[in-house]
């Protein structure tokens, strides 16, 4: 089935706005339940991790170049480089490995 990109965007924007708006509009009380707060705290990490691996392995022309990108990104991120730096270093690793691979 062919999907309409503008409809995707509408769904994304609608859901995201509602999440932000409903608590502001409706709430008079703060969440105090520690398990609910903890769940919301861990969600971004679990979500981003699940989206990254193993999907990153299929993100480029070859699994080897993707693996190189993954390793470089992990090292750069571990050293506390900024988002843009980590992203660009990963791209550079993929680029370099894909130039070398034909000769292996």
């Amino acid at each position: 089935m062919e999907h309409n990109i503008y409809l995707y965007i509408l769904v994304m924007a609608g859901v995201t706005y509602l999440i932000r708006m409903l608590p502001l509009a409706l709430s008079k009380k703060e969440i105090t339940n520690i398990h609910v707060r903890s769940f919301l705290y861990y969600v971004p990490y679990a979500c981003l991790a699940a989206m990254t691996f193993p999907a990153i392995l299929h993100a480029t022309a070859s699994t080897y170049s993707a693996l190189a990108g993954l390793i470089v990104a992990v090292i750069a991120a571990y050293r506390g480089k900024s988002l843009l730096t980590v992203a660009l270093l990963a791209c550079a690793a993929v680029f370099v490995v894909e130039r070398i691979l034909p000769f292996c």
């Binding site: 990109i5 999440i19 409903l22 919301l40 990254t52 730096t85």
Partner: protein, 239 residues
């Protein structure tokens, strides 16, 4: 008084705008790499104003996922805004008319929330709007610049850019994982679980969006149950 709050917001928003420009530039490039038009990339940034949500949405658009998948993914990954909005609802100036809450909700992001929360007095909507009116243009212009360069770059560069979004994700999750053992376990478990979903028979037929949702809810749920955070840490979530 309101003018002063607005001006303070503008001033504090500049740093956020600069940071946003760099991140959304990457989003613009990734959108171009996934075949979106410049207008579509800019429209996503203007209407969503959230990095992780937009990147995950982009991944689902690129994979041709269903509308339900994209809605549920946005719900799960942006659920933390729920917590921030609850918190802002507490901090908001009691005399502010109710309709401000509907307008302010548009730009509840990690960084803008951080600024709002750091004020030592009740939050005035004017301050929030001040930050928003610098930060959101930074976000949108960065996307525009990234999408334009993504569209004029040669194909082999675009292929290397495919990994950019994952590099960004790693840059968001690894530094906190270094400092907090539970976050590290959450990250590793989530990666392991989604990997299992991709290789095990039957399970590997589940579409990627649902795998993300199932993994996130399971891992974050178990972590919250076994290792609840200490109070006050919940506001320090990822970018």
């Amino acid at each position: 008084m309101k003018t002063k709050d607005y001006q303070n917001g503008l001033r504090d928003g500049v740093a956020v705008a600069l940071g946003y420009f760099a991140v959304s530039f990457t989003f613009g490039m990734a959108s171009a790499a996934d075949g979106l038009s410049i207008l579509q990339a800019v429209l996503i940034s203007l209407t969503n104003v959230t990095s992780a949500g937009q990147f995950s949405g982009l991944a689902i658009i690129a994979a041709g996922g269903t509308y339900i998948e994209i809605a549920l993914t946005q719900l799960v990954i942006n659920l933390r805004y729920c917590l921030m909005s609850f918190s802002l609802a507490q901090k908001l100036n009691r005399t502010a008319p109710h309709w401000h809450r509907y307008l302010m909700a548009y730009s509840v992001t990690d960084e803008i929330f951080g600024l709002d929360a750091s004020l030592d007095k009740a939050l005035s909507p004017a301050y929030h709007y001040g930050v928003t009116s610098v930060a959101v243009p930074g976000w949108v212009l960065g996307t525009l610049a990234g999408a334009v360069s993504g569209n004029i770059l040669p194909a082999f560069v675009i292929s290397a850019l495919g990994v950019a979004i994952y590099g960004m994700f790693l840059a968001i999750i690894i530094p906190p994982a270094r400092q907090n053992r539970t976050v590290l376990l959450v990250v590793l478990s989530a990666m392991g679980l989604s990997f299992l979903f991709s290789v095990l028979p039957v399970l590997n037929r589940i579409t990627s969006g649902f795998v993300i949702i199932i993994t996130t809810v399971t891992v974050a749920g178990i972590a919250a149950w076994l290792r609840p955070i200490e109070d006050g840490k919940a506001e320090e979530g990822g970018r």
